[in-house]
Symmetry: C6
Subunit: 211 residues, 6 copies
């Protein structure tokens, strides 16, 4: 049941990595969404034994991001002239479901803007193509896993508030919860204004590939 | 059995989102067809665990729309120079069947024209490539779900009128039904003349990719 | 067993739609081959839950048509600069077999030439790549379905004449049969000289994509 | 067990059609290899419910032909600037095995050179990439089928001579057998010097696509 | 169990054909690797009902050859501007395993250089990407098959020497064995300096496709 | 259970080959990751009967390398203008799992920089997209296999130190262990500053393919 160990990521010094929360048959787990860009032609690579639903979740998050590129200050050519890879360690553990949607979106947004992700924050929630956040299951177990990992803030769908209300207070003491309906709110909370140190510098040919 | 929650979409301020009606083993449900465009090369992405029949339905609706582009005032280059994504939340619920045909067509037509979709309207019906509307099943359950969700107008195939006639009047009070044979009539009823606020502005290279 | 309803197509005002005859486990049925063109790069899309044999039938008919383009007065660039979609309603009913071959060929020929299809005519027969018409099964049931649908003329392979000879005369009164060996004869009988009203106007770039 | 009817092809006036011999569970059958070219980009389409072995046989025959293009007087650009379709009626009957190799090669050679195929000739034999002819099974049944169909000359691998020697003379009276080791000999025997009436005229862009 | 007959290839007058040794459930067999080039775009076609391992073996051999092109005097553009087909008769017999690796490599090297393959030589051995030769199984049975076919020289991996040492001398009298560790040694032994008569002449466009 | 024999690689004179450690049902084994480049268009080929997890591991390692190209002194155009092949002998033995991640990364880094790999070193560990090294299983058996093969240094994840601490000292005498958390440390330890003799010289067209 061990998907990942908490000690591996202890800082937010790189862009494009965000902590998510998973629900397995033996309890909650934290997981990490890792993203990376390399010069290319707009190819998307997904790895980490992701199931169909999780792959579609990644594609949906990417389409949302593309449709909001201008608002987020992303030069559109990056989608054409770079390849995007999304990996979810551990590489041999099958993973599926829509609940990493907002985590993947946040990781990509951080990567494309090179903005820092807030420290010790995690999130779980489905994303829709138009930017709604939908509730997911396994909240109690996920919260316990987040606490074990020392996380301090958690973003959830507004509709998952009732799940939090049912958890004994002792287990959530010291954790700040953010309940949201829209993806804009997720990014507002999780992404810092500051860029990471040594941010990646994108270089473009003047003409976009797709045009 | 819960595909989607009614509260999530309460307005029609964005283009490209239309309410449909689904029939599941535990009753009717409303569902949402979400569509989005991003600059690209004319790629079509479908997500939401759609089955073969539903995917073909989307392709058929898109071909119909392309064949009527001029009549609808759509610049043909948008099909070449943008990518289209159609998503049907919730992402983990398998969906299939042809009955979302006219809903998908309407969502795409709204997206490509940036015209508003009428408020509190839903629809269910198969589409053919030449623009006929064909009857579908599960009408009674779908109507009950639409009513629970507070919808006020419903578009159905003319041939589904007999299904409505068999429903006890108390369940359909306050709902206006539109019975249609042709896709033109669906768009006439469901799409408003006005564009959405802050409509998406399409930019094209002078020369279309495909020519 | 109901593939399609006879009332939906009552006229021949559009190009590219032809009536076929299908044989199901519960009897004969009429079906419709719908075709549409949109500007593109020569892609072929098939929908309507078609099986392998039926898909190959469509590809064979298209290759035949391409090889006879000049004779039929079709500008070859249409095959390169437009996408072709063939759809067979109803979208959820699986269909297979080679017997729609001549129907698909006729629909495509009408679409590419924009010539009218004769009114109240139907057909069933396999097509070969070099334009032979081959006999098919289920003739009696198909004829009965055609009659119920009010069709007046039927095209069959010469070799299917013996099947007609075995049908009681009362069931075929008022129907004109055409027995053919070659695809040229099918088109001669089924396509009218006149174009449809408001025929589609093809526009080409001077240079064909494929050359 | 009826794959095709003998009466359908009674002449050799078109290029690209050759008679083969098949072996089914209920006896021998004649079959026809049909080929057609249309302007394109060098795509190969195979239809007629062909199995893997038969598809590979077609690809092997095509590669052989390409490697001998110059010797056969074929302008190499035809492979780049035209699409080739190979169809084996009847479209719904699954077919497999390597024994149509020399038949497919001969049909293609006739098509690309527009030379007539000898009248009332049939053949069966596996082809290798370097142009060897290999023996195949079911010879007796195939010969009987050829005789029923009125064929007068048959090409076989030299190694299949022993199978002929075992057939009672009364069944092979009037049939001329050609036993060969090499594909060159097949073409020498089966292709006439004369072109078909109204041969297809190939038109090329000066520059080949692939170079 | 009969993969191929010894009599078919009795000379080494063509480039690109090499004799291998196969191990089947009923004993050893000789097989032939046939290769052919035709002008194209660098496509690789494999036929002869090859299994996954054998296909990967071919790809590995090709990558090795490409990485040594300069050393072998092969103009690199041939990999871009020609298509390569590898066929292993008989076409209907499934074949798999890595032991044809050095045979495929030698056939390709002969084809690309147009150098003659030594007469009456056969080989069996796995190839690695960096040019190591690895031992394979079934040596005794393969040697017996080679002897029945009249072959005079056999190339094996150094590590397969122990298998030869265990064969009764009477069965290997008159056969010369070459034990090797590296692919360079295979080519040194099997390829003659002389080109075949009428060697294929490669023509290139000045600019390589891939650059 | 024999994946590979120790004697085959006894030197580090070529770039792009690194020794890994595998865990099979019958004990530990050493394996070799072989990599090769040939001029092309950036295609990645994987062979050696690799399972999905191992393939994803290779893709993840390649994406990491691309994202660190500048830091490692790799001209980015090599990813566009050359094809990369990764092969893991023996070709017929199925292999899977993430534990070859750092081995594949190191082999690629050596290949692209043409730097020598340290002599008699092996490694095992999962890689993440952002360059973390994660622990893997079967450590004891792998160490025993490394010792049998005469290897002198082994790189492991810091978290696998506890597995080493549990091994009886007699089995690890003379082996130096390196425990790491980050991929940078793996490359620091395993790659020598010196290039191999006769390093491959990359040639580029001035303009990268992807830009
Ligand atoms: Ca854990
Ligand atoms: Ca699935
Ligand atoms: Ca609901
Ligand atoms: Ca299906
Ligand atoms: Ca009906
Ligand atoms: Ca099938
Ligand atoms: Ca027959
Ligand atoms: Ca097969
Ligand atoms: Ca034999
Ligand atoms: Ca396999
Ligand atoms: Ca070993
Ligand atoms: Ca798997």
């Amino acid at each position: 049941g061990e998907i990942f160990d908490k000690e591996i990521y202890q800082d937010n010094s790189v862009a494009g990595v965000v902590t998510g929360l998973a629900w397995t048959s033996v309890g909650g787990e934290i997981l990490f969404i890792e993203t990376a860009l390399s010069r290319g032609k707009g190819k998307l690579t997904l790895s980490g034994q992701l199931g169909d639903v999780m792959k579609e979740s990644a594609m949906t998050a990417l389409s949302y991001l593309k449709s909001k590129a201008e608002k987020l200050g992303i030069d559109y050519r990056v989608f054409d002239q770079y390849d995007l890879h999304i990996h979810v360690p551990a590489g041999a553990v099958p993973k599926d479901g829509p609940s990493a949607g907002i985590t993947m979106l946040t990781a990509m947004a951080s990567l494309f803007t090179q903005r820092k992700v807030k420290n010790k924050i995690a999130m779980t929630g489905e994303i829709t193509l138009r930017g709604k956040v939908m509730p997911v299951g396994g909240i109690k177990e996920k919260i316990l896993a987040a606490r074990r990992a020392g996380l301090k803030e958690i973003i959830l769908c507004q509709k998952n508030k009732r799940d939090i209300d049912e958890i004994d207070e002792q287990y959530i003491k010291g954790i700040t919860f953010h309940f949201v309906d829209k993806v804009e709110d997720v990014l507002e909370i999780a992404l810092m204004k500051a860029k990471v140190d040594d941010p990646m510098k994108f270089t473009f040919t003047s003409e976009s590939n797709s045009n």
